[in-house]
C-alpha cells in the first residue's frame, strides 16, 4: 500500500512543484503590473505590504472564483457558495475530453495537435442531430452524442490513415486539419441547413430540450451530466490502455514502434485506431460542450479547448487521471480568473501567465530539480517528446 502512495507522490511531485513555482513567479507579475503597488516603489516598507496584499487579494479572488465564495451564500444557503466550483467543472469538462484525446495519442507515440479540429467536428455533429431531429429525451441525447463522436472519429481516423498509408506526419496533418475544421464551420454556418432562421451572423439554432444534457444540481447551476461522461471516458481510456490487448499494442508502439512491429503488432492498424479513438474523445468533448452548456453552435465554439488540451495532457503526464486533475486545475484557473479581474485590478491575462509557467517548468524538470534540490524527480519527457520523431 505504501508503495502505491509513494508512486503517486513521486509522479505528482513535478507538477506540484511546477505549480508552486508558477504561482510564486506570477505573484511578481501581479505586483509589478499593479498601479497602486508601483506608486509605493519609493517606500520599501509600504511597497512590500501593498505588493503582498495585492498578490494575496488576487489569489484569494482566484480561489473564491473557482472553488468556494462565501459572499454567494447570503440568502441562498451554504451550498450556493460552491457555485464557482460547479463553474470550474463546467469549464473543465470539455478540457478533460480533449486532454484525453492528446494523452492517449502520447501513449501511442503520436502527437495529436488536432484535438481542436476534432472537437469542432464533434460539436457540428451533435448540434445537427440536436436541433434538426426530434426523438424521445434519452434517445435524443444519446444519438446526438454518437453523431458527434462518429464525425470526429472519422476526422481523427483520417490522420491515422494518412500517416499509416503515406507516412504523412501527424503533427503537420492535424495542424492543417485544424484550419480546415475552422473554416468548415464558418462555411457550414452560412448554409440554410445550419443558419438560425432570421439571423445572418454565424449561429445555429439551439439544440432541442430533449437533446440537452440534464443538469445535475438544479436550474441555478450550469453543472450538467457531461462531467460524468468525461469521468467515464477517463476510466475507459485507463481501462483500454491497461486492461486490453489493443491498449497494450498502443503502448508497445508508443514505447518502440520497431520493436512492436518485430513482435508482430501492426503499427499502421494501431496508428489508425489510436487516432480514431483520439478523434472520438475530442469529438465527445465538442458534443458535450454543445449539448451541456452552449446549446447553439457558433463559429468560435472550439474556443481554445483543443490547444489547451496539449498543455493539460502534458501537465497530466499523459495519464488519464492526471489529465482529469490537470483539466480541473485549468478550469479553476479560467473560472477564478474572472473573479480575480472583477474583484481586484489584476487582469485575467495573468491566468495565461500562470498556465504558461506551469508548462515551462513541467517541460524543464532539471530546472525544478535544481531549484528545489530534489533527487529522483520522475519525468516522462521521453514519452512526450517522442511524437516529434514519428
Amino acid at each position: 500500500m505504501k508503495k502505491v502512495w509513494e508512486r503517486i507522490a513521486g509522479s505528482a511531485l513535478l507538477p506540484f512543484l511546477s505549480f508552486l513555482l508558477a504561482f510564486f513567479i506570477s505573484g511578481f507579475f501581479i505586483a509589478f503590473s499593479d498601479a497602486n503597488v508601483l506608486k509605493t516603489v519609493g517606500h520599501p516598507g509600504k511597497f512590500i505590504t501593498t505588493a503582498l496584499s495585492t498578490v494575496g487579494n488576487a489569489y484569494l479572488a482566484l480561489f473564491q472564483g473557482s472553488i468556494f465564495d462565501p459572499n454567494l451564500t447570503a440568502g441562498h444557503g451554504f451550498m450556493r457558495g460552491f457555485y464557482p466550483l460547479s463553474e470550474t467543472i463546467v469549464t473543465a469538462t470539455p478540457l478533460i475530453l480533449t486532454g484525453l484525446a492528446v494523452a492517449l495519442a502520447f501513449q501511442s507515440g503520436l502527437f495529436n495537435i488536432g484535438a481542436q479540429g476534432q472537437f469542432i467536428f464533434g460539436a457540428i455533429g451533435a448540434s445537427y442531430v440536436g436541433f434538426h431531429f426530434t426523438f424521445s429525451p434519452v434517445l435524443h441525447v444519446a444519438l446526438a452524442l454518437i453523431a458527434g463522436v462518429v464525425c470526429a472519429a472519422l476526422y481523427g481516423g483520417l490522420v491515422g490513415l494518412l500517416k499509416a498509408r503515406t507516412g504523412a506526419h501527424e503533427v503537420i496533418v492535424t495542424i492543417m486539419l485544424n484550419y480546415i475544421a475552422g473554416f468548415f464551420i464558418l462555411w457550414i454556418l452560412k448554409t440554410t441547413t445550419f443558419l438560425r432562421p432570421r439571423r445572418i451572423d454565424p449561429i445555429a439554432p439551439d439544440v432541442k430540450p430533449s437533446a440537452q444534457l440534464p443538469h445535475l444540481a438544479g436550474a441555478d447551476f450550469r453543472l450538467h451530466a457531461g462531467i460524468l461522461i468525461a469521468l467515464v471516458a477517463a476510466y475507459f481510456v485507463w481501462w483500454i490502455l491497461n486492461r486490453t490487448t489493443i491498449g497494450f499494442q498502443f503502448r508497445a508502439v508508443g514505447a518502440n514502434a520497431s520493436a512492436a512491429r518485430t513482435a508482430g503488432i501492426s503499427v499502421s492498424r494501431v496508428t489508425i485506431s489510436t487516432m480514431a479513438l483520439c478523434g472520438a474523445l475530442a469529438g465527445l468533448g465538442g458534443a458535450v460542450h454543445v449539448l451541456g452548456s452552449q446549446y447553439a453552435l457558433t463559429a468560435d465554439i472550439g474556443g481554445s479547448f483543443g490547444f489547451d488540451a496539449i498543455t493539460v495532457a502534458l501537465l497530466g503526464r499523459a495519464k488519464p487521471f492526471g489529465t482529469v486533475l490537470a483539466a480541473l486545475l485549468f478550469g479553476a484557473l479560467r473560472t477564478g480568473g474572472r473573479t480575480m479581474q472583477s474583484n481586484t485590478t489584476t487582469p485575467l491575462d495573468i491566468v495565461l501567465v500562470i498556465q504558461a509557467l506551469i508548462v515551462l517548468f513541467i517541460a524543464s524538470p532539471t530546472l525544478v530539480r535544481f531549484i528545489f534540490k530534489v533527487k529522483n524527480l520522475k519525468t516522462n519527457a521521453a514519452m512526450t517528446a517522442k511524437g516529434w520523431n514519428g
Partner: protein, 348 residues
C-alpha cells in the same frame, strides 16, 4: 530545498493573511457599472475600446469594471459573475452577446441591462415574434448615414475612379457600414455623372469581401494589397482592429488612403494619422456613458437608443491631415449631405 520551501511558505502565509485583512472598501454613493466585452479584447483601438472608454468616463459617479470574453462561451458566465457582484447596470458589448443579456435581464428585473449594437429584443425560437424587455436597453447606430458621407467623400477624392471596402465578418453591424459607403459612392456618381467603382460590396446583392474574423492581420493586408492592385485608392476596412493592417499597407505602398471606423483613428491610432482620410465614427462611448448616467439619475428606461447623424450618435470625423488635400467644394458637399440626411430630406 528546505530553505526555499521555507521562504515560499512564509511569503504565501503573509500574502494570504494580509490579503484577507485588506478587503476593498465600498463606496456607497457610487453605482456599480459593469461591462462585458466582446471577443477582441479591451485594446482593440476600436469597438471594445470605445465602449470601455465611455464607461470609464463615468468613474466619478460609478465604479466601473469589465470582463473580457475569449469566445461566446464566456458570455453567460461573465454576465452571471457581474450579477453575483450586484452590479447596478450591466452592459454587453456586441450583438452576439444580446441573447444572453436578454435572458439575464428577464431573470433579474431589478438590474438594468444594455447591449451595444443590438436592439436587445426578446425573440421566440424562430425570431418571428420579438418583444422589448423593460430593463434591457438596446443601443444601435445608423452608421450607414455617416458611411454614406464617407462614400461620397471617397468617390470625390479618388483619382483612379475605384474605391474599396471589406468587412471582418458578414455581421449586420458590419455590412451596414459597407452598404452606406457603397450607396454614398453611387449617389456621387449620380450627382456628378461619374462612374466610380466600389470593390468589396454589392449593395443590391448584399454580398462582399470579408476576412472571416476580426483578428487575421495577414488576410487583411492581403485583401488591402489586392484592392490596390485592382486600382482602388481609398479603402474602408470595417473590421475592428484589422483596420490597422490596411492603414499600414496604405503607408507602405503610398497607393491608397484608409477610411477608419468606430472611433476617430487620428486619435486612437495616431501612427496612421497621415493616411487616414476620415473616420466613420460611432458614438459607442457616448451611448454607454448616457446609459450609466441615466441609471445613476434613476431615469433609465428600456426604450431603444438609435444613434443617428441627427442626434450625434454617428458622425464623420474631421479630415485632420487631409483638410488641405481635399477640395473645399467637396468638403462642403459632404457637410451638406450630412445635414440633408439628418433633417430627413435625403433618404438613403
Amino acid at each position: 530545498m528546505k530553505k526555499t520551501l521555507k521562504y515560499l511558505s512564509v511569503v504565501a502565509a503573509v500574502a494570504l493573511v494580509t490579503g484577507v485583512a485588506v478587503a476593498p472598501a465600498s463606496q456607497a454613493a457610487k453605482i456599480k457599472a459593469c461591462v462585458v466585452l466582446d471577443t477582441g479584447g479591451v485594446d482593440d483601438h476600436s469597438f471594445n475600446a470605445g465602449a470601455w472608454a465611455g464607461a470609464q468616463s463615468t468613474s466619478a459617479i460609478a465604479d466601473v469594471s469589465y470582463l473580457p470574453s475569449s469566445s461566446a462561451a464566456d458570455f453567460a458566465p461573465n454576465i452571471k459573475k457581474f450579477i453575483d457582484q450586484k452590479c447596478n447596470v450591466i452592459i454587453g458589448v456586441g450583438f452576439s452577446i444580446s441573447g444572453e443579456i436578454v435572458k439575464a435581464g428577464k431573470a433579474n428585473p431589478t438590474i438594468k441591462f444594455a447591449v451595444v449594437d443590438d436592439g436587445a429584443m426578446d425573440c421566440n425560437a424562430d425570431y418571428s415574434v420579438c418583444n422589448a424587455v423593460a430593463n434591457v436597453k438596446g443601443l444601435t447606430f445608423s452608421t450607414d448615414q455617416a458611411a454614406f458621407q464617407a462614400g461620397y467623400l471617397a468617390a470625390g477624392y479618388s483619382k483612379t475612379g475605384t474605391v474599396a471596402t471589406y468587412g471582418g465578418a458578414p455581421y449586420p453591424t458590419v455590412t451596414i457600414f459597407m452598404d452606406g459607403f457603397a450607396k454614398g459612392v453611387a449617389y456621387y456618381n449620380k450627382a456628378k455623372k461619374k462612374n466610380v467603382k466600389v470593390l468589396g460590396w454589392d449593395p443590391a446583392k448584399k454580398t462582399g469581401t470579408f476576412v472571416g474574423d476580426f483578428s487575421n492581420t495577414s488576410k487583411a493586408s492581403q485583401l488591402s494589397q489586392g484592392f490596390e492592385q485592382q486600382g482602388a485608392d481609398v479603402i474602408m476596412p470595417v473590421a475592428g482592429g484589422l483596420g490597422a493592417s490596411t492603414a499600414k499597407q496604405s503607408q507602405q505602398s503610398g497607393k491608397s488612403v484608409t477610411v477608419w471606423v468606430d472611433t476617430d483613428g487620428f486619435y486612437s491610432a495616431p501612427q496612421y494619422g497621415s493616411v487616414l482620410l476620415t473616420t466613420v465614427a460611432k458614438g459607442l462611448g457616448a451611448a454607454v456613458k448616457s446609459v450609466i448616467t441615466d441609471v445613476k439619475k434613476g431615469t433609465f428606461t428600456g426604450a431603444p437608443y438609435v444613434g443617428t447623424l441627427a442626434n450625434g450618435g454617428v458622425s464623420i470625423s474631421p479630415l485632420h491631415d487631409f483638410a488641405s488635400k481635399v477640395p473645399s467644394r467637396l468638403q462642403l458637399e459632404v457637410k451638406m449631405i450630412g445635414r440633408q440626411i439628418a433633417s430627413g430630406t435625403l433618404k438613403i
